[in-house]
Symmetry: C2
Subunit: 252 residues, 2 copies
């Protein structure tokens, strides 16, 4: 185990806290979404339309806001065919070197890099352009440690009770557990929150459609932006590939 | 409208069909996940653990498979601090030029590029490394047109019935609707399926934990890989930014 710790270059543990705790509304208490007349039953589409956004409707009004939506310049030019092939190959090679490691380096990383990476994630598309994400960077060792304690407490309950035997068995081959030393080691933690809804300038509620999917897409772009910081070079050392990606996604 | 059609360089319409139609099991018929004893109620975690994977448990057995999980080389080296800052800035600038356009160019793109982009998406992390995605590339004009018809039919019902007045109003300012000409125009469509579960070599069922989140993260990486094909240069032309990202995510 100590063997791995010297190899790990990745410096960021990503935790997706999968509720809008930054907002007070609990995702659990969902209301009914009104539908005027019963459409033909297409369960996959109905399922698709659900995403934590079908909660009880408060007073809500977008109209009048964002009417003059920002128009920004649009880049059109792509590379030549040969160059596109080359770039797509190189990007694949680079991204294909990403690993979901569990032992992280404590080497410092300029804060500016972290900010740029988060800005990049923020360019992600989102349902109805609601941008339903909040990124929180934690650098203070005490706060990191408190987060580790909370995460480990929850994860232990996950492993022992919530996930069930089957899931725990499925994870065995990946040798993961609820101990997460790297949350102390990493120079930064990026906590990622999904906002189930937002607030308009007038204080009224703004629904965030497809918020979980949108935040997850942003996480994918974040991972790509992080990988861009690494050289396209192999080390001789060996590790497990893509060990469960839970930390890039889920559990807290 | 025609005004925009000349500017649009993006050549791929991404459609996330948010069910495992490639598999026969319907996401709707969910069973109960057995939990041995009631853990402390933490609704956000319970919510998090749900993801279409808590369906009725069939016979299922991972043990014995993948015991000798592939160990692959691990890249460790990152750039110097100055170089990391520069690279993170440039990647941000490049990704920040991505737009969710609705009018696409029909210019051809080498198929090899598309394959590389999908390979890149496939490097995404996933819950318990289940890789619960299927990418289908469609190039045949007739099939593209059939897909357009199906999508438009569903989207019309979405707009008129399923989504409700509030949602439709929220989309108004983005001027989207259910007409999707670009599904005919684009040289390729990449259909993205989430697999709610898979099959082991022995035919038994393999649960795909966090499948929707995993596929969405892969979509984020796919979008990044596509954007890498574009030059870091502005055109003078103007379009709406991030018009609803539904097509990178949801509706079919």
């Amino acid at each position: 185990m100590v063997f791995f710790s010297s190899l790990t270059p990745v410096f960021i543990a990503i935790i997706c806290v999968l509720i809008g705790v930054i907002l007070k509304k609990n995702n659990g208490e969902r209301g009914k979404h009104e539908i005027k007349s019963k459409p033909p039953s297409r369960p996959w589409v109905d399922e698709d339309l659900k995403d934590g956004s079908d909660h009880q409707v408060e007073e809500e009004e977008w109209q009048g806001f964002d009417e003059n939506i920002a128009h920004v310049p649009f880049t059109a030019e792509r590379y030549s065919e040969a160059e596109m092939i080359k770039r797509s190959q190189e990007f694949y090679k680079l991204l294909n070197k990403r690993r979901s490691v569990r032992f992280l380096s404590d080497e410092p990383v300029p804060r500016e890099v972290i900010d740029n990476v988060i800005r990049t994630a923020g360019t992600s598309p989102s349902g109805a352009h609601t941008e339903p994400w909040t990124f929180v960077v934690v650098q203070d060792p005490e706060i990191k440690h408190k987060i580790r304690e909370i995460v480990e407490e929850e994860e232990e309950i996950n492993y022992k009770k919530r996930m069930g035997d089957r899931w725990v068995n499925d994870l065995k081959r990946l040798r993961t557990n609820w101990i997460k030393e790297y949350l102390d080691t990493a120079p930064y933690l990026i906590l990622i929150f999904k906002q189930v809804y937002g607030r308009l300038p007038n204080g009224k509620r703004k629904t965030h459609y497809y918020n979980e999917i949108s935040v997850s897409i942003a996480c994918g772009i974040l991972l790509a932006a992080l990988q861009v910081l690494f050289l396209l070079k192999y080390s001789i050392l060996i590790t497990m590939r893509h060990v469960s990606a839970g930390y890039a996604q889920g559990h807290v």
